[in-house]
């Protein structure tokens, strides 16, 4: 129960050796002149300042032929078709749910793009429309895939697969979407005893590894049985590990999370977030990741 109080520590100075890792990348901050050559086209994240192409956001310069864009490092989620996302229902409307997915506009989940319980494929009737709130209500969390992107950048989601749908008991961790590595699969049953959904939108869901699932419920049945303490410990540790990795800007994917989890095992769960413990864990994790890459 002791309270841990400390003085602030100044941020570490970036050493020149770590800067060398950025070789070959053109990084800019707002106001940096990218080029004074007038032959280029102005893309996202840039503006013309006295005939010079200037960056308006901090990020990496990307060039496609004559078009110059700056991809920002700190950003909201820009969805693309096929991305796995985790979102929260904010509104139930006619034939659609509004979903908060950390993008600039609320995403929509159409009633016609969900699997209804029972698994049968049929036209959505008026009764289905009336009982929409029985399936998903405000505040519920879902995992889904981006089906299409509207002209204004809003996303349309779908959950037409048994792996998507309503999420039950577990913990949501919010990180920057730039930190989630795009991979073949974003669903992992980690060997340490819990499962993880790495949403491309920076919403990460940790939950106890499910046993044999009941197909009949179609993903809308949530167990309210207490989660055993051992699973809880693993999930809490993973949660803190994710925050540690995010605080040190390490890409999140199954291997990095697992290595971080293993490096943290010598510490108590609640100590992981202390700055000095954090540094130690991150150092070990980085080392193992480097060894693995060879």
């Amino acid at each position: 129960m002791a309270a841990d109080m400390r003085l602030p520590t100044a941020g570490e100075q970036i050493s020149s050796s770590s800067l060398s890792l950025l070789d070959g990348k053109h990084l800019v901050v707002p106001g940096d002149v990218i080029t004074s050559d007038t032959g280029f086209m102005r893309g996202h994240g840039t503006y013309m300042d006295e005939e010079k192409l200037t960056a308006s956001v901090a990020g990496e310069v990307e060039r496609v032929n004559k078009l110059i864009c700056v991809r920002p490092l700190k950003t909201r989620f820009n969805g693309e078709v096929g991305d796995v996302v985790v979102g929260r229902i904010t509104e139930v409307q006619q034939k659609r749910w509004k979903v908060e997915t950390n993008s600039r506009l609320d995403s929509v989940l159409l009633l016609s793009s969900v699997n209804l319980p029972g698994g049968e494929l049929r036209r959505r009737s008026a009764e289905d429309e009336l009982s929409m709130r029985d399936y998903l209500q405000e505040g519920d969390l879902i995992s889904a895939e981006v089906q299409s992107v509207f002209a204004d950048g809003a996303l349309s989601l779908h959950t037409r697969s048994l792996k998507y749908g309503k999420l039950g008991q577990g913990v949501l961790v919010l990180v920057s979407p730039s930190l989630v590595k795009r991979q073949k699969t974003h669903f992992h049953n980690l060997p340490c005893g819990a499962s993880i959904i790495l949403g491309s939108n920076g919403y990460i869901w940790l939950y106890p590894t499910p046993g044999q699932q009941d197909e009949e419920a179609g993903g809308y049945y949530t167990s309210m049985e207490p989660v055993p303490l051992s699973d809880r410990e693993v999930i809490s540790r993973l949660r803190n590990c994710l925050l540690v990795l995010a605080a040190h800007k390490i890409l999140l994917y199954d291997t990095s999370v697992l290595y971080c989890f293993e490096s943290s095992l010598s510490h108590q769960i609640k100590d992981i977030l202390k700055p000095e413990v954090m540094d130690e864990i991150v150092m070990k994790t980085r080392q193992r990741l480097m060894e693995q890459e060879g």
């Binding site: 129960m1 002791a2 309270a3 841990d4 109080m5 400390r6 003085l7 602030p8 520590t9 100044a10 941020g11 929260r88 904010t90 405000e138 505040g139 519920d140 969390l141 999420l167 039950g168 008991q169 577990g170 913990v171 949501l172 949530t222 309210m224 207490p226 989660v227 303490l229 809880r232 410990e233 809490s236 540790r237 949660r239 803190n240 108590q268 769960i269 609640k270 992981i272 977030l273 202390k274």
Partner: protein, 291 residues
């Protein structure tokens, strides 16, 4: 107050975790998140402190001004509280959104701190009935991540510890008129005795148990919470129940016991830290707002 949405299943998960004494972030029911405290961060105040608790970020500044004592207590100075909810903390505070919370917070702070058990108000008196020091305590919420009261009270205690009030000399001229002269020397000042300044402990009832230092998610699972102001001796100077739910008498006494125990344990590390920071003197590397 800033609130978050939590689904039913998440609530069940959090409540079962509290029952098992393992909260979502691995803490037990009576653990605080780690705190980062820095004093003397704003140069144009007489005393200031910045406290971060989790992602809650609080800045407190204390300004001393000469004012007239209140008629009922002519030999005491007094404190004024103002809480500013910055729209940086949450978009809800934009415009007048934070006003209600700000007034609520400052009223509670007034009750907790402005009494002679917390601070020796007599030491703020300059000339009975005519002049006294008024301490304007301004609290700025930079980020909200639950448990505002506890973080604010710790920040206030640290800021009061840091407060230096210039010494005054009263001289009387021939006609009996009094003249107040402020000392020019910045080191010629008086300090406040903050030994008895209480810390606030907020206990949230989650399920059958109660937790200290609730995060916003845990707050969303609780219907009622109890606020206790506890001094270093374990004396409770203020109790307030918050939230729409009800508490049965048995749990109130249980929560009071826990609050006393936890509150008492907060003071020693805080004072140690403040003294350590002061001991560093001018060599201390100031961090401030850039980290």
């Amino acid at each position: 107050m800033a609130s978050v949405q939590v689904s039913e299943a998440e609530k069940v998960y959090i409540m079962h975790g509290v029952r098992d004494d393992l909260r979502v972030d691995g803490r037990g029911c009576e653990d605080y998140r780690h705190m980062v405290i820095e004093t003397d961060v704003v140069s144009n105040t007489d005393g200031s402190a910045k406290v971060s608790l989790g992602h809650s970020d609080i800045l407190v500044g204390v300004k001393a001004e000469i004012g007239k004592p209140r008629a009922l207590v002519p030999d005491e100075g007094y404190l004024e509280f103002f809480v500013d909810c910055s729209a940086n903390a949450t978009p809800e505070f934009e415009g007048r959104g934070g006003e209600e919370l700000g007034i609520d917070l400052s009223n509670t702070l007034y009750k907790v701190f402005n009494n002679k058990h917390s601070i020796d108000l007599r030491s703020l008196c300059i000339c009975p009935g005519e002049h006294c020091w008024v301490l304007y305590v301004d609290v700025l919420l930079l980020q909200c991540d639950g448990n505002l009261f506890d973080a604010i009270s710790i920040a206030i205690k640290a800021a009061l510890f840091n407060t230096r009030i210039p010494k005054v000399h009263i001289s009387e001229d021939a006609e009996g008129g009094k003249e107040i002269e402020l000392s020019d020397d910045p080191y010629d000042c008086v300090r406040l005795n903050v030994e008895n300044v209480p810390c606030i402990v907020t206990l949230c009832k989650v399920g059958q148990r109660h937790v200290v230092d609730a995060t916003l998610q845990e707050k969303a699972c609780s219907v009622a919470s109890l606020l206790l102001a506890v001094t270093h001796k374990g004396m409770v100077t203020c109790v307030r129940k918050m939230g729409g739910g009800s508490l049965d008498p048995e749990s109130i006494s249980e929560m009071t016991e826990t609050g006393k125990r936890v509150g008492k344990a907060l003071h020693a590390p805080l004072m140690d830290l403040l003294k350590k920071e002061e001991g560093l003197g001018k060599n201390r590397q100031k961090v401030g707002f850039l980290r």
